[in-house]
Symmetry: C2
Subunit: 470 residues, 2 copies
């Protein structure tokens, strides 16, 4: 039995649930889903489109919805909630964990909020009102308030009695915070410390006074990075008076870092705006369009600058049309090397490996890398022009006048070397500059680099050509 | 006191330690570092270059090195180890956790390994030989063997006695695995279950038989994704006979997912090869060069295809040289939209939101997004050609013959629409195709897309121009 069960791999589970969903048979869905891990249900659900999700949720009795609600996208739960009678709404809301409840309340239109908050039991209402005061992207907006705390001055026996009362609600019992009368953290104990000690041991003798915490208004990413750096199970969140208001747990940190990586990648590719809780297939065509349209339009019109450079050098190009063969190469090499150094630097800053005060060292490193890359490519390309240029690549109108292919090789080789060197540097400098100017490196750097490097490539190429051939 | 300590933020700590490192005063380094969190030491250390790290390590007495060794890059520890007498080598090796020890042994040259393995106490030697049989990127290669286990059939009292004996070695006591005589997992208990139960309760009554586990030879990324999906603190790793051989913990999952995101980003930007344990500044110029040179060269020569297309259409270009103004725009718009859809699809696959069986839905979605983006951009650009083309952008030799600016607008608008539409689709299809062919989508897709889209842009543009103007 153990043998069979351990062989179930997560992705098979998800496929299975998707099959059940697609059968459109409410019985099959319910049966399959009752055996599934909520994490798999969540993932299967996120892969459905709007209509399918609506259809499935509409068939669910509210008690099953209550069971799942923590794992479903807040927007879907809200839509279904609207259609339920008050009693069943209460059942679903009651089943949600603090942070999911707050997500749901923040997701809905403001006018709908009071009617749902009214349905909550007093304690839950207070918690959600507390949590909602923090913006979504902050540590406070991400934390849960369901942590285990005990007052200072207890014995192990007394602490266990306190904890027994809250063990169902607390999301995490492996870290227990010991609070003074002002709710300030005086230390923490672990469950194991309690389990291995005699009942009359004072908690004060067991506790660890390590004081890592984060302010509720700090960025959630900072919290996630602290959890990663210190290998924490949970990070306490405190308010202005240094009182414990909640904790961010290791699984939140994982989610936050995944989201931030996704955001960085998207920004580097010129995709803007909020992603929200939506998976790729779940997002509407129009939402995708809106997130992509901005940079596409801006970059397209900025590319007119490159076109204008071509026009300005019309004489050079038409005189030695062979240059057209190498123009895309020079431009592309700049784009590629600029993207490489920008990615390295942006990621290093995200991972906390690098900050603006290391600007000089980055420039020095990238100039050596750029010189190596540019030098190597320049030599290779010059050799190719001289010795490996097949006839079919030559323009029909080839007329080099007084010049030789060695001159072309020199121009192309020098141009590509200069372009690669400068692009590598531009790609590294712009993100650091953006960070220093308190802008988002990933947003600013990539589009700017693409445009600058396209123009610089053409300018370098034609300037060199003009020097050689005119 | 609590107030002061909780205000220390991680990044300030790292700067402080760096300052101490840079003072080159062994006393200051030691003093500063004794108070610091190992996570901060690790991060500060990673930001130093080779010489500084060597200088600092050489000043450290071996007992301090032993204290830190878990948090320092394996390569640095190894280098320092070589210079120590046998007794001190033993002290350092003994202080390492299982997984760090294995990293270190795997890092060193094979001929050096036996002499260090010999220094290990029997138990540690066995553990490290066990762990070394799994390749580095697998669940087995990443796991720790220091998990808490108890045999089936104990009472709470007996379990606590067993655990008390191992509590110093176990990395994680919050999950305790209950094993049968074959070391198969029959269930797990949490520390809280033990703490809240009377001593004579049989463990069998408390344990949870949830059977999530992963095979030791599976990819470490799959393990990390399971931990993320199921919000696990630890995931058991099993062998072919389904025996428990180790666990992967939540902090490993965080590291793995950060590494994988970094790798994906780098691959998308054409950066190849292994990153290893090196931070950006720590990696040598030559290592950076090697990781970037491959695609830079390949892509540069592939760009000759675009150049060749330009040569083929020399007649069109020279006849209507105004087209040169818009050529970079058409090409760039394809590159940008192709990169956007490729990034969306590659990331969605990495996050498990998408797999190859959803190919059809992705194509359908992207064709609508591509049509919207292409249509919008085509109309905007056509309007710009007709109504907002300032004189300074026009070529000196402008001669449209029988044609009007409306013809140019039609060519440019249609070309950019077709280019954006096709690039959006290519950007989405190539990564899924790569995945279906068992290739890495991030490696294959981006360079291929850049090249294809550059060529297709020129071909589309000139073909349309030829149809209109000739």
């Amino acid at each position: 039995m153990a043998e069979e069960e351990t062989e179930i791999s997560g992705s098979v589970e998800v496929e299975d649930i998707l099959d059940a969903f697609e059968s459109h048979s409410p019985e099959r869905v319910l049966e399959r889903v009752r055996q599934a891990h909520p994490g798999d249900i969540e993932q299967a659900f996120e892969r459905l489109d709007d209509q399918s999700r609506e259809a499935i949720l509409d068939q669910l009795p509210s008690n099953v919805l209550a069971e799942w609600a923590d794992y479903l996208p807040a927007a879907d739960v809200e839509r279904r909630l609207h259609t339920l009678p008050k009693g069943e709404q209460r059942e679903v809301l009651d089943s949600l964990s603090d942070d999911e409840l707050v997500d749901l309340l923040q997701e809905m239109e403001e006018k709908d909020r009071p009617q749902y908050i009214e349905l909550l039991p007093d304690e839950k209402r207070e918690v959600s009102e507390n949590l909602m005061q923090y913006p979504e992207e902050t540590a406070g907006g991400r934390m849960t308030m369901a942590m285990a705390t005990i007052p200072v001055g207890l014995t192990v026996k007394e602490a266990l009695d306190e904890l027994r009362a809250i063990k169902e609600e607390a999301e995490l019992l492996s870290r227990i915070y010991v609070l003074d009368s002002e709710r300030r953290i005086t230390g923490k104990v672990r469950m194991r410390d309690l389990a291995f000690s005699t009942w009359d041991t004072p908690i004060a003798d067991l506790m660890d006074s390590d004081q890592l915490s984060i302010h509720a208004m700090e960025d959630q990413e900072e919290a996630a990075q602290m959890i990663a750096r210190y290998d924490l199970v949970a990070l306490p969140v405190v308010d202005d008076e240094n009182r414990l208001v909640g904790v961010i747990t290791h699984d939140d940190a994982l989610e936050i870092l995944e989201e931030e990586s996704t955001e960085d990648m998207e920004k580097i590719s010129g995709i803007g705006g909020e992603r929200g809780d939506f998976a790729y297939l779940q997002m509407s065509v129009f939402s995708h369009f809106k997130r992509r349209a901005g940079w596409v339009v801006i970059l397209a019109f900025l590319a007119l600058t490159s076109g204008w450079v071509l026009l300005k050098y019309e004489d050079v190009l038409t005189a030695v049309f062979l240059l057209a063969l190498y123009l895309p190469m020079v431009v592309a090499a700049g784009g590629n090397t600029g993207a490489q150094s920008a990615t390295m630097v942006i990621r290093a800053m995200s991972l906390g490996e690098l900050d603006t005060r290391e600007f000089g060292r980055v420039v020095w490193k990238e100039s050596r890398i750029g010189a190596l890359l540019g030098g190597m490519l320049g030599v290779l390309v010059a050799l190719q022009v001289c010795f490996f240029l097949p006839d079919f690549l030559l323009p029909e109108s080839l007329d080099l006048g007084n010049f030789s292919m060695f001159d072309v090789a020199a121009v192309v080789g020098l141009a590509i070397a200069a372009q690669v060197f400068s692009s590598t540097l531009i790609g590294a400098i712009l993100p650091i500059g953006a960070r220093a100017a308190k802008l988002d490196p990933a947003v600013v750097a990539s589009p700017a680099i693409t445009t600058i490097v396209d123009v610089s490539g053409a300018v370098i190429f034609f300037t060199l050509a003009k020097m050689f051939f005119f």
